[in-house]
Symmetry: C2
Subunit: 481 residues, 2 copies
């Protein structure tokens, strides 16, 4: 018997109604099964190191040293001693490369106040400068006519998610303010728009055409939204795609830019998978934009690529052509800064890893060969695993998977589900029978009447070799009804 009045409370309904499938019912059921000692393969989330992808040695050795800089000098002393008289049981490679010691010392020097102090709200200046330089080099700005990146318009953020939230919270001013997002989409976007109290305006890349965009697709979504009184203010593009893995052509990117220009939209370009390209080629929005005056917010992260440092929560937001704010002397970047100030700063370990992401070891340095070998290994493993899963799809009746292979995901269409069942039922049954935890297509949004699932191609090959035949068997039995 309860002897007190149970308090109830009315809360922000936007949060109550917000959905986030990547950590929704299927993963929750998977966690339950795991607690019952069932063997579960978590392919619901792009969390590479949780599935055995090793961290880059270079990154971690530097991070370890900047957290305890007294070990830099000691390592040098130990190496000198070892060179004179090798220690038994230890080999040369057990010591840290000279260039790593130098880089670590350099970072500590440039941090000025160390890892334990709040940094500038935007992040440490030398890291923002290094990011700007990376962007310029990546986009070959001299040749391509693109504009140089400006360190003052770069924000270091706690993963890309924080940057997305800063931008959407700022853009959404009224209840009828809308943001265009691709369907399917990564649910961070739908959730953040919902939380900010705006309108999600769906547009539908052409699945059968490799998820390409066309002007008609974008116009169609915009016109429908405007008919409903929605004031569309921004457009989100995820390239390479999440959940589709599709890689956008330069033509598709240009379509978006012209569309945004004519309709005065802010482009939010989620480019966190820019190093995860297995077929096709990555082109950045910044490069395609060149000197056109369209507001662009690009996002990148240390969580993906070959680095996979999800847990460290690092990333950046780069802004170009920030619009002036109506009724104010401030511009878009000033107000992003105001938001960042209230959070004080992003975490220093994430900032340092972001620096290392844009500053790999120099060619010819002692640690270069190992770095490249590890990078290649991780990326070729990912490619192989994507290929294995795509190959399995060909043996599943009515399964089609479109687009180039990018990001860490495949998003096959399930054309032959039994009458009255959905992709949610399918994914739940797949989990129960094989231990494979995926996310159903409706968690990301999909064209009405279609069914999909998203699988992150991250588990070790040996696990895939074991589970894929069981999935094929499950699939063909399941769709037979």
């Amino acid at each position: 018997m309860i002897s007190y009045l149970e308090p109830t409370i009315d809360v922000n309904r936007n949060i109550l109604e917000m959905e986030y499938a990547v950590r929704g019912p299927i993963p929750l059921r998977a966690a339950e099964l795991q607690q019952q000692d069932k063997s579960i393969i978590f392919c619901n989330i792009g969390n590479p190191q949780a599935l055995g992808q090793p961290p880059m040695t270079y990154y971690r050795q530097v991070l370890s040293l900047v957290e305890d800089p007294s070990k830099i000098q000691r390592e040098r002393q130990l190496k000198d001693l070892f060179e004179e008289t090798p220690f038994s049981d230890l080999k040369g490679e057990d010591f840290i490369d000279d260039d790593i010691l130098a880089v670590s010392e350099n970072i500590i020097g440039m941090m000025k106040t160390g890892m334990g102090a709040y940094t500038e709200s935007k992040g440490v200046r030398f890291i923002r400068e290094a990011i700007a330089e990376l962007i310029d080099n990546r986009d070959d700005y001299e040749r391509s006519g693109s504009v140089r990146a400006d360190p003052e318009k770069i924000f270091l953020t706690g993963g890309a998610s924080e940057g997305v939230k800063f931008v959407l919270d700022l853009l959404i001013a009224e209840k009828n303010d809308g943001i265009m997002i691709p369907i399917p989409q990564y649910p961070l976007y739908s959730a953040s728009i919902k939380k900010a109290g705006g309108v999600q305006v769906n547009y539908y890349p052409d699945e059968d055409n490799g998820w390409a965009f066309s002007r008609a697709i974008l116009d169609d979504a915009l016109i429908k939204a405007r008919e409903q009184g929605v004031n569309v203010k921004g457009i989100v593009v995820i390239n390479p795609g999440n959940p589709t893995g599709a890689v956008l052509s330069e033509q598709s990117i240009d379509e978006v830019i012209q569309f945004a220009k004519e309709n005065q939209l802010v482009i939010i370009a989620d480019e966190v998978y820019q190093e995860n390209i297995y077929t096709g080629q990555f082109t950045s929005f910044a490069k395609t934009l060149g000197d056109q005056k369209v507001p662009l917010c690009s996002l990148h992260s240390i969580s993906k690529g070959f680095y996979g440092e999800c847990g460290h929560r690092g990333g950046y937001l780069e802004v170009r052509n920030p619009p002036k704010v109506q009724g104010s002397d401030l511009d878009f970047v000033d107000l992003l800064l105001k938001q960042a100030s209230v959070s004080l700063c992003s975490n220093t370990a994430g900032q340092v890893l972001t620096y290392l992401m844009v500053n790999p070891p120099a060619q010819g340095s002692q640690s270069y060969a190992r770095f490249i070998q590890e990078k290649r290994q991780t990326l070729s493993d990912l490619r192989d695993k994507a290929t294995m899963i795509r190959e399995a799809f060909t043996q599943m009746d009515g399964v089609e998977c479109f687009g180039e292979t990018g990001a860490m995901y495949l998003f096959p269409r399930l054309n032959k589900l039994p009458e009255g069942t959905t992709d949610f039922d399918y994914c739940m049954a797949l989990l129960e029978e094989t231990g494979l935890c995926t996310v159903n297509g409706s968690g990301f949004g999909q064209k009405e009447g279609t069914n999909h699932l998203r699988i992150a191609f991250l588990p070790p090959k040996s696990l895939l070799e074991e589970v894929l035949p069981r999935w094929i068997e499950f699939h063909n039995r399941y769709i037979a009804g």
Copy 2:
């Protein structure tokens, strides 16, 4: 000549109107002066390591090892070798204590997926368990009749700020929803309430009575707000106070609890300075609450105390008696979790440091003596510096400073400013003349007609010895007009 139409945009007015004095005009001017090679003493923010407070060796050695666990085994090998034949130039203390190696190994084992993987959205389970245990021990739950902390109601967050934002974003459902905050307050609260679109309801602790609360003070604020149609839903208490440094008596805490109980408010207890007590005694809200069914959200952080690990962005939010949500099967904790899920998780370095904060080295372990010595040194330095500054106030005409000494701040009242000048003018002049960067009282809010400033007592003693006489001289000259 500009050849294109300058785009303008309407943005979220709540963000446009949001203020954040701690990084406002005075610190911005200080940064400018510093760039002109003026020597500036940054006392505007509680950022201890930026002002030379050393990090705790124990924390950093562990963090360094968990980022690069291969060094644990190597350190053991090196120590064995060193024990057989000491290396020239190196001493025993240059090697890492056995208990630190063991703790690091243990953490890596308990993390399961390492530092590079996303953790559970709430944070790693073993860390939440350790936090619960710390809270129980701190509050002596068996004797005091308080209820045990529940790891499922604990969230690891990116500093305390993130936890505050989760709570306020959830509580504020309508434009007339109000949150009571003490005046003066830490501007995170006013800014977050503003951003969430709610109403800031001021209450005024009694400065001349050591910033104590009374029922009348709280009732008065509530009645006034209700008269204006505000639906008051929560009350923020900062203990020890920021910016006042005042330490609340158990009686003041109990006043708040009874007040919240009768008026069905959620208590948000910011207890990040619980280890920064130089006079008086800290009592937690959880302990005073006992088994009373009042919703309580308590916050703690690795940024303050004697640890000062601001840059690593770690902390936790502990919830008690989460209310059920109207029109839903969910409760307050479920919806906090939903928000945390969208951010994926807080950073792992911050999580590990939070674990170390609640798990200091065991008494009698090899590293214990150094840990205690460093802790005492930092806390006694802070105490000495607060005393030095308080002593200086006695030599400044018309300066009074009330309350116990806690947190990292003093918040003196300036009773004799020249006619027509404000504390903003005073702080700006103080900065220009002495290089001392403080924040004016109006940045935190203050009773109308009063003037204050906040100074973080963090600079090295030698700097204070140098600047305090200049401040006294400046002050007595300034108020003479």
